[in-house]
């Protein structure tokens, strides 16, 4: 190799170095950023799973209490329905039918209570604190047969209660 070729070699190396050296280190920085993001996603996922598990357990407890209470009420009290004229007040459907028709009590009476829990996940409140929100939705359905009109009457009363569990700040 002669001197001129060596000079070209050195020049070429220097020129390529000026072009490409500023790019060195970007791959490592990007890789670290990717690792950090993956770690954050993993942490959030784990926390989310724990929150879901805790929320589900809480919902199950609330559900058990409500169903137990409802069952007790059903066993202790006579069945009642909402009066369309005065929403929120329970009246005895047998009396209601008897009063309106002047006939004997309805022959068939059915009362059901359905409930479900909706997990809204973690939400932000106005004061910027985070809470895990669960909504307990309850549907009370009463159905009876009115022999005077030969019709089945059905009344439904929906209810909802919201439970918020505070998420501790980091």
């Amino acid at each position: 190799m002669n001197d001129k070729t060596d000079e070209i070699d050195v020049t070429l190396g220097a020129l390529l170095g000026r072009e490409l050296d500023p790019q060195c280190g970007r791959a490592r920085t990007r890789f670290r950023a990717e690792m950090w993001q993956a770690e954050q996603a993993h942490r959030l996922g784990r926390r989310g799973w724990m929150m879901t598990a805790a929320g589900s357990a809480l919902a199950a407890c609330v559900g058990l209490v409500i169903s137990f209470t409802t069952m007790r009420q059903l066993s202790q009290q006579p069945a009642g329905v909402l009066s369309p004229a005065s929403p929120g007040r329970l009246i005895d459907p047998a009396n209601a039918v008897a009063a309106s028709s002047g006939l004997s009590a309805p022959s068939s009476l059915e009362r059901n209570v359905y409930w479900r829990t909706v997990d809204d996940g973690t939400i932000q409140r106005d004061d910027e604190s985070a809470v895990h929100q669960l909504r307990q939705q309850l549907f009370e359905k009463v159905r009876w047969y009115d022999p005077r009109h030969d019709a089945t009457i059905e009344l439904t009363r929906p209810r909802e209660q919201t439970i918020q569990v505070e998420v501790p700040r980091q």
């Binding site: 070699d9 070429l12 490409l20 060195c24 280190g25 890789f31």
Partner: protein, 200 residues
Amino acid sequence: MGESVDQTPPASPVQTAQLVRAARRGDSGAFEQLIGRFERTALSVAYGVLRNPHDAGDVTQEAFIRAWQKLKDLRNPEGFGAWLCGIVRNLAADHYRRRKRESSVRAMDDPAEHAAAVPMLLDPSADLQQAERRQRIETALGALDEISRTAVVMRYYDGASSKQISEALGLSPAAIDMRLSRARNDLKQLLEKDVAHDER
């Protein structure tokens, strides 16, 4: 070779294999060491295809992320370098095609945009020396075919041996030597012409 840059010394195949095995077990530190050892190689390969340093940097980043994700697919941990170069070449080829398509679409969409770019190139405050240097190297390297250009960049920038270049490019070391010799002669002629032109 270029200006000194903080870089990890080249790894032996055994060290590379150890780092790959550690990285496969999820050791991100081991993978960072692999990045340190192979970043210049990856940049050389990407630059050989794209002839643009910034695009080469982008593709190199992407290639290492892809390699981390696909590390379990690598059958021979000692061949990490060659395997990585394959990923870089594929990504660089995709990038080149996409860039070509986008630039042709832009040219058709908005010719005014390209007209507006001309005064920027002629801006007297621009570093003319740097632009000339870049132009000179781009022209000289652009005259070579892709394989020869990649081999030249790997040799002159990364200091890679003919064996390493041959593994990365899938050719025999003798073929690489021949291409390097021919490319060196071509470059010598081209760059000498430019130097002579500058001196006048």
